[in-house]
Chain length 287, copies 2
């Protein structure tokens, strides 16, 4: 089993990365906010498969939480996360300090205004600006050849890929599919917030996505009709309240009324104070 | 004399930089918008002194021009610039294509909202967002160890340094002092716009800065009084119209009424349709 180091200081992380890369090794980065679960481990597996040196970052990024959001409540257990990562055999756990990431007078932000104006971005103003800024910083500190993001956060993944392309970051973005519980619920650090009743109702999100997929397979191309049926099934659960439900082109996240080419079906549902998201992407066959 | 290559394609530039760096050479970048003059050559001298491989970029960045500004009229003569650069003995002239820098659907921007809200930034909305975005892109493409910027664009220099620090870009920013004509006029690509009368009046900008310096040396610390006297001298020229005249802390560009520590005195003056800027920085001695 390899020896995992825990690095807190940015300067130290930069020095290590530069050394490792000078030896000709490929560096992989898996950025996380901790509270690690099976979904994260799938990302780490991808990083391990494609690189020689795997860095997992844990940083609960204040910049991506809205003022009314769950920054304070967000689950943190670095001690347990470190134990789990050690078992996974990664090289570095990078857990930077908040006041090193955003010192007093901090003033630099990265933003993708078009792609951030829809779906989760429309409901969480500033969220993707915070995500892009922190990911850009982590990329510059760790200088990875490859970084891995999960497909569960579909809009985030699309925005990060676009940021890398538009800002010429020269990093390859790899992905891993959403990891699910046996009842279909997408694994998320936020699932622990759910009451037992909410948890029992939560599979309805994925069920609505599967319903959409079946309707499309049967030839339905009218997004309005598909969304209506998705809404009916989600609304059948008393604890569920739809935040949004959208069918968009995967390429530019623009709304479509008639399905074609590659589409993203994305759903956000409130269960009490907990907001869960899920999505599927589909290649629409020509009829 | 070394052999200069002209590179237009981003991918080719990236490949060359990576190769050069893999050989252990230090790369220096001097970003310009062309229309090269003595001021640029001083920047190139700094880059040559501190690195083994000098890239000069020429790109008239549409993103940093306002809709009513001089993007179309901005002087362009890449052929002559290339001749001059060849004589200077640089390694690469990187002149990327507009549609490769900003392809259709481009959506990524870098911004420093606080430092961009004053001085030139207050008068040219979006200007520094355009500057930061293109410089960030150029940094990611050329991956320089060192980049050189002129002190004439004082706010730009301060913003770039802050961007490098805040986004952890790991690039050393070096500077060169403002190059001046014998009558004190700061050399700028925009000076060619001036009518002969405007050119005769233009030295008044630097004269106002020298006046401020002398007043401060004599013990004046009240910025209002200093600015009043600067305004009087500039207004004595019929073709000159003050755009702004500010005395700010160099650290954070905040206005001050009583001088202390390191200050930036920055002036922008319209001569007809031409806007010229100049500045000095001063370390205020304790009285």
């Amino acid at each position: 089993m390899s020896y995992m180091r825990i690095i807190e200081r940015i300067k130290e992380m930069e020095d290590i990365s530069r050394k490792v890369k000078n030896k000709g090794k490929k560096v992989g980065l898996v950025p996380t906010m901790g509270a690690l679960h099976e979904g994260h481990f799938r990302l780490i597996d991808v990083a391990k498969k494609h690189t020689d040196f795997v860095v997992v970052s844990i940083f609960v990024n204040p910049l991506q939480f809205g003022v009314s959001e769950d920054l304070r409540a967000y689950p943190r257990d670095v001690h347990n996360d470190a134990k789990l990562l050690k078992k996974k055999g990664i090289d570095i756990l990078f857990a930077p300090l908040g006041n090193e990431m955003y010192p007093e007078g901090y003033d630099a932000y990265v933003e993708l205004p078009m792609l951030s104006s829809v779906l989760c971005g429309a409901r969480r103003p500033g969220h993707f600006k915070g995500v892009c800024t922190v990911v850009c910083k982590l990329f510059n500190i760790v200088i990875p050849d490859i970084a891995v993001f999960g497909e569960k956060d579909a809009q985030q993944l699309i925005i990060i890929k676009k940021m890398v392309k538009d800002l010429n970051l020269g990093i390859k973005i790899l992905t891993a599919p959403t990891t699910r519980e046996s009842d279909g619920v997408a694994i998320s650090s936020r699932n622990i917030y759910l009451s037992s009743q909410e948890r029992r109702d939560a599979p309805v999100i994925y069920q609505s996505l599967i319903l959409a997929k079946k309707l499309i397979e049967k030839g339905e191309r009218d997004t309005k009709k598909i969304k209506e049926k998705m809404r009916v099934i989600i609304s059948s659960k008393l604890t569920a309240r739809v935040d949004y439900m959208d069918i968009v082109k995967k390429k530019d996240l623009k709304q479509i009324s008639f399905l074609e080419s590659e589409v993203l079906i994305a759903v956000a549902v409130w269960f009490g104070k907990t907001r869960l998201i899920d999505n599927i992407t589909l290649q629409i066959p020509e009829i």
